[in-house]
Symmetry: C2
Subunit: 331 residues, 2 copies
């Protein structure tokens, strides 16, 4: 019987989900007593609503720092459920920056401060994290596109959430790590499926979970532990990204990455060609050599290399070699 | 590259989801012009909230006929978002009946009438469907556990929704068939992921969908069409269920099915042993012969044989033979 045929109430699947949770706790050093780990559905987009619904009452203030499209979507969704303030936006700089934390004007009564740790489309990544100025507030992060790509000090966060489909599993499962004392105060209008208490109380088995996706996540967590944990994973990701950014910066302007150097993503490397009319050809020729999905997101264009955990160093090496060759052929 | 590695924005996955939708439309004869077909996440439990959020304003009246645990959950969730009325409940009869439609006291202003077409735990199935008395109201059905087990006249419904995991795919995808004129009036507090308009406008690709689960659903739809469509599927299911109910009814009371004969489910066959102390032994011995997951739902106990589309006639035959043998050994 395959994992897809088993009852999610059986002891076999129970062992699968418990092992997945326990391996994730080891990977991220998540304290058992203080944080719940939930395997949910609906992607980060569902969490854009679940976070305000669980963490604040309708009139409460919350703060959003928006460094790209995903943070912007989270901010807009929160406005339905509380008084969401946009305290910083990188939009006028085309989302190429992270603000200085000292300059952030946080609301003194904000219940939480929300960031998107890595902006998939714009390639902007937080390298460290702001602290909420209100000592009762918590930091909340959407880590969908850099989850398990490097170690994270979970104790700095009230909620971390991540769609699994970038680094840890197939699409269809969303992981939420939430500080236990924040659970249990959902607004009365919270749908059952968005209520952290329902899922925490039933260990993510309130209704039928996405069993197969959770099973695959568990295998990936095992593999990441075998690789030496997230310290090793980060080393590898740093090396991969370094080679690619060096190739861009060393191209005498043939390739251009618009993102500020100190906040460039280890996961998503967006760049343009100075001669923008060559971009289509670049993407087509790369595809012929087996390098696909290099087109920038439809909202920004250009080229984007997403080099998640699963991309080997050799894959990045091949791309860099192709970039140099392409440049040589188009002087 | 596997389906799990592809971008959901690529032409490969686009072909997969379009083919799945088109095959489902053929299977259920869903009119293209009048109904949207959505592939969503979060199970029927998410739809328990989405239905009232999309179909009515906070003060609107809606009617629920509750014939089992799932209908009861749907009713309770709806109370958060509108004035939900329980117009009939089978609870006092331990959920073994379906009401006569003539006797239903529907609210004249109800926006919809909600039923659960097949109660998975109690084994009670609607064989035909009530009509809302208010001509502007629509019928809404949770078909999670009998979806694609028989033909359904979709035009009688405003909304049909179904978690896929019983008959058509792995857990993690929920199919919603919704009449197009009902889309676009969601309450302002509706989370984006519960808003039918968002998903209809983007052909179920607003955010990353559960690609693998949708792919498998597509394969199942192809298979059901090859079997001759739902008329043939129903014939097979009727034969399977008939053999099992006959064995129960012909056991001189050794086995007892509490459900009223005219509304017994073709999918879930719950029964008890007159000598209830033998149930544990029955389930253990069946497991030794490879027949597992026969334990009744933890909320009701007893035995339950779930004989979804994928269960072959021979599987039911084997169970019936075992039942007769077990009875002979326990006179």
């Amino acid at each position: 019987m395959s994992i897809m045929e088993m009852s999610h109430r059986g002891k076999e699947f129970d062992a699968v989900i418990k092992k997945a949770e326990s391996d994730l706790r080891r990977l991220l050093a998540i304290p058992d007593d203080d944080y719940a780990v939930l395997f949910l559905q609906g992607g980060a987009t569902t969490q854009f609503a679940a976070v305000p619904l669980n963490l604040c009452a309708p009139g409460d203030a919350v703060d959003y720092v928006v460094t790209g499209s995903w943070g912007d979507k989270a901010f807009k969704e929160a406005q339905k459920f509380c008084k969401a303030n946009l305290i910083w936006s990188g939009k006028s700089d085309k989302y190429t920056k992270i603000p200085s934390f000292e300059g952030l004007e946080q609301n003194p009564n904000a219940k939480y401060l929300h960031i998107c740790a890595n902006e998939t489309i714009h390639g902007v990544e937080f390298k460290n994290y702001p602290t909420p100025s209100n000592k009762d507030a918590v930091l909340v992060a959407d880590m969908s596109s850099n989850f398990c790509s490097k170690p994270v000090d979970v104790s700095k966060f009230g909620v971390i959430y991540a769609g699994a489909q970038k680094n840890v599993g197939p699409s269809g499962v969303t992981i939420v790590i939430v500080r236990k004392d924040l659970i249990g105060n959902a607004q009365p209008i919270t749908p059952v499926m968005l209520d952290y208490k329902i899922h925490a109380d039933s260990a993510s088995l309130y209704n039928t979970p996405p069993c197969f996706a959770i099973y695959i996540c568990g295998l990936v967590f095992e593999d990441l532990l075998e690789q030496g944990g997230l310290v090793e994973v980060e080393k590898n990701n740093t090396k991969k990204a370094g080679i690619l950014y060096d190739a861009i910066d060393g191209s005498d302007g043939f390739y251009v990455c618009p993102v500020e150097k100190s906040v460039r993503s280890l996961m998503n490397v967006p760049f343009t060609l100075q001669k923008s009319d060559l971009e289509k050809k670049f993407i087509e020729e790369a595809a012929k050599e087996g390098m696909v999905q290099l087109k920038g997101h439809r909202s920004v264009g250009g080229v984007r290399a997403s080099i998640y955990n699963a991309m080997p160093l050799a894959g990045v090496g091949k791309l860099v070699a192709f970039m140099k060759d392409f440049q040589a052929r188009h002087p």
